[in-house]
Amino acid sequence: MIQSRLPSIGYHLAEQGTATEASPFLGSDRSALLVTALFIFSLLSIQKFNLPGVLAFGAFPLFLMSAAKLPAGLILKRLLLISPFVLVIASGNLLLDRNSVMLIFGITLSGGMISGTVIVAKTIISLAGLLSITLCIPFYRICRALEAFHVPEVLVTQLMLLYRYSAVLQEEALSMQKARDLRSFGSRGKEFSCTASLIGSLLLRTVNRAERLYRTMTARGFQGQMSTRNVEEISLGEWKIIVLWALIFLVLRLIF
């Protein structure tokens, strides 16, 4: 948590034409999301020593990445930021479970080595699967799909506004930080209290922006809802795709 990171939401490959959409393989956006959920559920149900089983599930992100022409480098870069928490737990297993279970070419593998590797592999594969999907679907369509899943309208509206304004406010935050850095020398000026007032100013600007936003929204007839589209039920075609993928995952689980 104590680390700096420059999030850039909204980098949608499909939108920028650098990747094709996943829809020919996963159907509509909502079936794609459901299939991803199924994928993650099946992957995580694999038991803790079954490394081959976990590896086999890497097939799903790999398939998506090659089929939709996602730049692997981009996804890899994000995966490299593996949470230190996961690594600690994995190495905990490594240290604590020393039952040797297998001997390969004179090297003894312990249970911890395997279960630790499984943890890391699960992390990488599940996140790669999720990222492959979210990079293919523009955000507004994810919101649309959430509506179809009967996610409360309050939350969908919230997500849309959050997504929209994170770009604006991040730019403002960056500029403010830049302005501060230009007038600080060494560590002087980067103290805690100064940073807090920086964040406080940003907060004030945020609140004022909300006020202006409310004006523009009501001026265009806003009455508490941002989406008035009626959503259709999930169609037979979508169900077919979901069932097909569910079968694939089941078979993978059975084989390995």
Partner: protein, 239 residues
């Protein structure tokens, strides 16, 4: 026909931002409002679409009194273009933003689609319709905000500093666009050349009051009057 009768407005901290303003604007005409920073221009135009309700006096627009119960009707009639287009584009996709108003108005679907496409094409935004507003350039954002107002087919359009941050070419495009609209237009701007190019009539505000009102060439050509109100001749008249 917009008629403002003796309205005043004070902020909670006591600042009197508007002080007994009376003004009538003919239907289909184009009116400029100019004045120093802090003169009360934004506060005044925010009364026109009912965001602020007059603390004293009254406003009526095309016969409808601006009041709490008429707000829906007022929003339908008056479109307000904000100074910062980022305040006006709030959905995740340009198209949705433009569609937001008509949808809330309950406009007919087919008609809405035609109208939106028409305006987006007119403003060279059609190709960009699936982009998130965050990925647009400043000029594109301003035109997008403009489109989102125009598709609501307002009878009155109010613009607060429409030319800020535009490069000269985009500014020129905006001038042509505004002059092509046949509706009632009210423009607040420090860009007096823009006002000169787009408004028939101008009024000057100073400390919450209207201190001058007349034909654009009379007002913006009067150096003494302008200088008394923190203004200057439009640049093209300066040499």
């Amino acid at each position: 026909m917009i008629s403002i009768e003796g309205i005043s407005f004070s902020w909670p901290d006591g600042t009197r931002a508007i002080d007994r303003i009376t003004l009538a604007i003919a239907q289909g005409s184009s009116m400029g409002i100019v004045g120093a920073n802090g003169a009360g221009k934004s506060t005044l135009v925010n009364h026109l679409n009912g965001y602020f309700l007059p603390q004293e006096g009254s406003i009526s627009i095309g016969g409808t009194v601006v009041s709490k119960k008429n707000l829906d009707r007022i929003h339908r009639v008056v479109g307000l273009l904000f100074q910062n287009p980022d305040d006006q584009l709030f959905t995740a996709r340009l198209y949705d933003d433009v569609a937001f108003g008509p949808e809330n108005l309950g406009m007919d679907r087919a008609m809405m689609a035609t109208l939106i496409e028409e305006w987006l094409r007119e403003l060279n935004l059609w190709e960009l319709r699936n982009k998130p507003p965050a990925h647009l350039s400043q000029g594109e954002k301003r035109f997008a905000a403009f489109a989102s107002i125009l598709v609501m087919q307002p009878e009155v359009i109010v613009m607060d500093e429409p030319t800020a941050d535009l490069d000269p070419k985009n500014r020129r495009k905006l001038i042509n666009l505004v002059n092509g609209l046949g509706i009632t237009k009210i423009t607040v701007s420090h860009d007096l050349d823009f006002v000169w190019d787009t408004c028939q009539r101008v009024c000057i505000m100073n400390r919450g009051r209207i201190v001058a009102d007349g034909l654009t060439r009379d007002i913006l050509g009067n150096r003494e009057l302008l200088e008394a109100n923190s203004l200057e001749l439009p640049l093209r008249l300066q040499r």
